[in-house]
Amino acid sequence: MSGRRWWKGSILTTAAMVLIALGVPQVVDQFGLLQLTVFAAMCILALSLGFVWGYGGILCFGQSAFFGLGAYTYAVTAINLGESTVATLLALVVPAVFAALLGYFMFYGRLSDVYLGVITLSVTLIFFNLMNSTAGDAYRVGKARLNGFNGMPSLPTLNVPGDPGRLLDPAETFYLVMACLVIVYVGLHVLLASHFGRVVVAIRENEARCELLGYDVRLHKLLVFTIGGGIAGLAGCLFANWGAFVSPNVFSLTMTSQIIIWVIVGGLGTLLGPIIGCLIMQYLATALGTQQLANTSLVFGVIFLAFVLLVPRGIVPSLRRLALRA
């Protein structure tokens, strides 16, 4: 993973993302722009799991827990404060802190990989049930009514920091989400190239050897999990903004399995993979959603199985191998 090729690839990808960010608003209509905005937000979510699972080797089946927590944190804070800046920051911090607490319990408790999967999945489903049962006036946080399964509509969307009256228009929001995506992508690259990142990859390769070299495996995993939680929270915040709406579905089984499918399809152990996987599957979901021929979940399930059985490495690593051989 070290070396010039790695950096060259990431610089190319970054350049492509910046070009798309700048060019797209000039050529697509309002509807297309909104569509691409949510795609980009989901790409950030895909990156969070791609980092935690693909590099940290942490089997997290409940990445949606942090995504949903970010979305709800944003919603509740923005409604109460009537402005978005603090809400956005909290949407990053609260999921990260929650991930740190959960991670502490899991990694310092020396739970095995299988249990990590089970626990993270359970956590997101607990949130799902919890939020679903918050219908009624009794469930409110300050001015914000949680509304149970109906969700929270008409959220205040992003405003210019310090100027709550000046809301971002769709093009500006798109720029912002793309900027977040680029920052997360580049940031993870830099992190993975650092001493910390190289130890994280080494832990994925051989935990015992890392311990014998004097690296605290638990601490490294905890940090990876926490960073992943914060990034997923940011994605949740952007998602809540996009529709000015949040419902318990952000915690649902459908949501969390989607993230896993994106990463599997795109390829574990890369950063580009989760982005590509997310884009393809989201495009498919939109296309399938507008017709009545096939059930979306069924198609997703078939694609998932096909990849696990036929292209277990995922798209990006497989293409890379082909390119290397050519």
Binding site: S2, H195, R198, V199, V201, A202, E205, N206, A208, R209, C210, E211, L212, L213, G214, Y215, D216, V217
Partner: protein
């Protein structure tokens, strides 16, 4: 005992009915080179796992330079200065030789110095040519050296080598013996090995283990003449 780098007191571990290490009192001086021998299943590797915190003893204590490290975490013990080459090489198969050395040296050195150490060690273990190749592709003999180099790059004060010459050709064994003697100029070592040719090349004091306990501790010459040791190796002492 102030000049002891390592001391164990009544160290024991029991797996169900088997006491794999039995009341071991072991002392190693600073910069000492000790060979640890004994038949298969004598408890040599288990003793190493206890010393590095990979297993927790059921009784007894481990002192490293006077500090009680019994029950400490593996990484904390490594940080104190104990490095180990395990019996089955424990490596990062997807990473290159260079990355192994880098990871080991980088924990205690700034980036620039780390690069210099990595190059220096590559030279020393003679693996410069394969520095950028994935370790998973290497032969068992080379993997042994990669692990040895990785341990060296971390510069631990006490180095444990579990069968460092296994799977090596005659020339490689001689080269490893030379390397061990060279390391011993500045470091304390405990070396577990079945290859008696290799042991003869490096040994001064030898500790013999049998059925979890220390049987004798003496110079190499006297160990070779020791009738009990010979019996143990020929299996006459089994089932006592």
């Amino acid at each position: 005992m102030s000049d002891a780098i390592l001391q164990t007191v009544g160290l024991s571990i029991r797996f169900g009915g088997v006491e794999a290490v039995r009341h071991v009192n072991f002392t190693l001086a600073e910069r000492e080179l000790r060979c640890l021998i004994g038949p298969n299943g004598a408890g040599k590797s288990t003793l190493f796992k206890l010393l590095t915190g990979q297993l927790k003893p059921t009784a007894g204590r481990i002192l490293f330079r006077g500090h009680d490290i019994t029950g400490h975490h593996t990484h904390a013990i490594a940080r104190r200065g104990i490095g180990i080459k395990t019996q089955v090489p424990s490596l990062f198969d997807g990473l290159t030789v260079h990355e192994h050395l880098w990871l080991s040296a980088r924990r205690t050195h700034p980036a620039e110095r780390t690069r210099a150490i990595a190059d220096e060690i590559l030279e020393r273990i003679g693996l410069t040519a394969v520095a950028n190749g994935a370790v998973g592709q290497l032969s068992h003999g080379l993997r042994q050296w990669v692990e040895l180099g990785t341990v060296l790059a971390g510069n631990p004060d006490l180095i444990l080598l579990d069968e460092p010459a296994a799977g090596m050709t005659h020339d490689e064994v001689a080269r490893t013996a030379e390397l061990v003697r060279e390391i011993n100029r500045t470091h304390a070592l405990i070396v577990v090995e079945h290859d008696m040719q290799f042991v003869k090349m490096i040994a001064r004091t030898v500790t013999v283990m049998h059925q979890g306990a220390v049987l004798v501790e003496d110079t190499m010459d006297r160990i070779l003449k020791n009738a009990t040791v010979r019996d143990v190796y020929l299996g006459k002492h089994g089932g006592s």
